[in-house]
Symmetry: C2
Subunit: 296 residues, 2 copies
């Protein structure tokens, strides 16, 4: 199957998982805003990555569902906040009005909190303990918390904000921002796949390396798209990075060199994926797809 079709199929599957997870909240005060943010159409790349790594071990998808949901919940939380007036102040996301535009700033913020918290609830649920044991679930909680906290995703966001009015931002700082703001959650996604799959210690190291390189490339390709595309193409308010004076590889190096940088990271991600004892096939094809996008 073509990798694009495969991704679409997985996205469809994950959409169902997400809807099921929110169903018990129907009738609760948070349901509308959380659903709006979480069930908005998306590529679901992060949970798909987790699933692919997990399935190197077993095809039993039922058990991993809470993990897929948790990953997308953390992603949705970060997106809601990213778009807030006090952050990037974006009106559009995935071609639709952002959560705070529809549900108000206060409810959008609370929905982001609820999604982040629910992610940890999913990872620690009785169902998960029954399926995988407390040890592995706790490992997942720790991995996720570490990678999305003060020295992970949040740290990256903070550095992004702090440097956004600077005339010149060091390449090392841009790397720090991308590594944490974007690559950390992608890394968490593959690592959680490894924790609940049967990844060996060595493969866990390879997954860590893959997540970082692939995540870096993912952000650079996104920045290239932001700089060169129109709103209709990205579904987001276009040219946001220049408007918000964001430090990206594109603004720092120009389009051609940023593209080169993305391809370097992808080459490195490909190497890590190929080295995996098992489960590297989907990852390699995903690398190739992103490389195609980077070149176009």
């Amino acid at each position: 199957m073509d990798i694009r079709d495969h991704l679409n199929e997985e996205a469809h599957y994950i959409d169902g998982v997400l809807a099921d997870c929110l169903a018990p909240l129907q009738g609760s005060v948070m349901h509308a805003a959380m659903s709006y943010a979480l069930l908005s159409p998306g590529k679901r790349v992060r949970p798909a990555l987790c699933l692919a790594v997990y399935e190197a071990c077993t095809r039993d998808r039922e058990r991993i569902k809470p993990v897929l949901a948790a990953i997308e919940m953390v992603h949705a939380y970060s997106i809601i906040q990213d778009d807030l007036p006090s952050m990037d102040n974006s009106d559009l996301r995935r071609g639709k009005p952002t959560t705070h535009k529809v549900h108000g700033e206060d409810m959008a913020l609370l929905a982001s909190d609820a999604l982040l918290t629910m992610a940890f609830e999913e990872l620690s649920s009785a169902q998960m303990v029954g399926a995988f044991g407390a040890e592995r679930c706790l490992d997942a909680v720790r991995t996720m918390a570490t990678l999305v906290g003060a020295e992970g995703l949040v740290g990256g966001q903070a550095m992004d904000i702090i440097t956004s009015s600077d005339e010149h931002v060091e390449l090392g700082t841009i790397e720090y921002i991308h590594k944490n703001k974007t690559a950390a959650l992608i890394q968490a996604s593959v690592l959680l796949g490894g924790i609940f799959g049967c990844a060996s210690e060595t493969d866990m190291g390879r997954l860590r390396a893959f997540g970082e390189s692939f995540g870096m490339a993912y952000q650079i390709v996104d920045d290239i798209a932001d700089a060169s595309a129109t709103e209709a193409q990205t579904g987001k308010t276009a040219g946001q990075d220049v408007k918000n004076k964001k430090a990206t590889y594109v603004t720092a190096l120009g389009l051609a060199d940023a593209r080169e940088k993305a391809l370097q990271y992808l080459a490195s991600a490909r190497e890590s994926a190929l080295a995996l004892d098992s489960g590297g096939d989907f990852l390699t094809r995903l690398v190739d797809l992103l490389a195609e996008k980077a070149r176009s």
Copy 2:
């Protein structure tokens, strides 16, 4: 020792724990805003409750430190967000400018995220697993996440916001708001003390009941203080509830009946504390202290 002195001593101890927990973040981009919010002087009632319940089992305080920190981190996260312009828009907290007034709205929000996330990191840390085993740590993660999520603290906040422009709010709704906005985290605090202490199943039920009743009373007494005190006394912008049209027992029932309601909840909390097989002494004295405050 007088309960007030005892509380002050515990607060001092917990302040040290919190400072130690943030120390590894020194030099990181989030350290200043997180420290400002977390280390700001406070009564530390929630971790003190946890500690008291835990110490019914063992005097080994070293092991429980990450849990005390996690509880206060969640409290600090909720306070930062509560004060934001899009929420209560408060300039003062504990007699000091609120976090967003000092660090900006964006960094304040990220600090709240980082504190919430770090709470889960603390509960799942390797140190915790070594001391208590994965099973109990995961139980703590699940308990905390459930009580502060969409159907806990966040749900209470949301209902508070949704009803804040209503002319008449049902008493049942006010109860829902207080139960979730305030009592849930207090309940989590005593439950975590029970999980890591040696509380029996029966005592866990009593702690659950105590946390809810005590938490309800705690909020009502706070509302009484808001309505009757000056800024100098509370260290917060006074009269906020009326200004923000908050539905409280005070605005719904008047001062006298709200006071009566608080005393009812405290009587019920006292009963649960007295029924505990062990560890009820501190809780009972705390109930009596709050009752004194409610009457004054």
